[in-house]
Symmetry: C2
Subunit: 223 residues, 2 copies
Amino acid sequence: MTVVQKSKVTRGQKGEQTRERILVKSGELFAAKGFFGTATRDIATAAGLQQPSLFFHFASKQAIADELLAYSLSRPKTFASRLVEEPGSAAARLYAYISFDTEHLASSPYDLTGIHQDGLLSMPDFRKWKLAGDALAQHIRTLIRQGHVDGSLLPLDPILVQHMISGINLNTIRRVGDKQRRKSGLPEFVADFILRGLLSSPRSLPSVQIEGRELLRLLKTDE
Amino acid sequence: MTVVQKSKVTRGQKGEQTRERILVKSGELFAAKGFFGTATRDIATAAGLQQPSLFFHFASKQAIADELLAYSLSRPKTFASRLVEEPGSAAARLYAYISFDTEHLASSPYDLTGIHQDGLLSMPDFRKWKLAGDALAQHIRTLIRQGHVDGSLLPLDPILVQHMISGINLNTIRRVGDKQRRKSGLPEFVADFILRGLLSSPRSLPSVQIEGRELLRLLKTDE
DNA sequence: GTCTATAAGCCGATAGAC
DNA sequence: GTCTATCGGCTTATAGAC
């Protein structure tokens, strides 16, 4: 949809395919052994290259993680920041967020679980993504607090609840294998489970689902 | 309580204190930077030692992680294996397990979150603990299936549910800061949340809580 | 128990040919 | 674009003095 960034995309088809293969394999290896536990040699071998050839496509090992982090965090952060200012019940908006994030992670061409492990984000070089992750967490906590105010959610500690949600989102995707990850219905499965744990009135779940899905559909069109 | 293992404990008080300090600092560093991201130099410095002095107390860097993994997995695994064969509703037994595990992790003198990151358990040297973790996961899945049979739990995919529970257990503890980690009520907080998400009848939660806590008290006495 | 000195290996990244 | 050759730095672990 965007017309910009030409100089990079222009370079041949083969280079772009290799670059993509590097990202995919890096994601798998980071998930299996962590960022620090993965050597650039391992990545190169998995991508069918010699180790130094990586550095034609990426300036550094960190640059690879950077691109994966961007894919992992940019859209969910934007989506959550919009949800905070949307009208409607907070429960439905939280439902929309969880569905969106789970689908985003599960349908990703890259395995994004590894880059959220280690203390990767505590390294100075990844400060940018640490801040993005913190902002996303804040949006989720805001949604939860809004649910306390409008009475749709149980008055549980927003920080603890946000940590639980993040833990679920990452761990449901992890190690579940491609077939199950892609299985449709996972986003609703996860959102249902979490909302049952948070709703002040369990019987309101069906209406929350309807309102949440409608909101999701609406926000996704003009993303 | 045990009378065995003398030769190790007998060596002076100072050595034992240093050994303990190494474990505590290792846990913190593994949590912050991951196992592979933490150098033995960092651990030694944090413990007030020179790097080679570590190897008087531990045969290798892995031996440190080994001890933390033993602390993290041994008791929960044993506890879960007993719960599987206990009588009573599966929901109550799952409640007991979640309370136990959360309290175990939260009251630990060591930060145990780091050793469950990276692909630490995928390394051949940690095969023993990989198997222990897999066994623990199987016990949890069995509990969930038992809940399908006795009708106390919703018929949700046991593998997905087990992944969600594991994700919550690890992430609620992580990065929450000591004061909140030790705050009493956390085990019940987590168990309540998960059970609300899984119970086939939301109104049965109070009785599940009572039965679960009773079971927890019972099994803890003759541990 | 803790130290200094040091070995042996792996790491990320660069230089330059093709 | 990908290769070979290679560098400097950092890593875990050992040897041996105190």
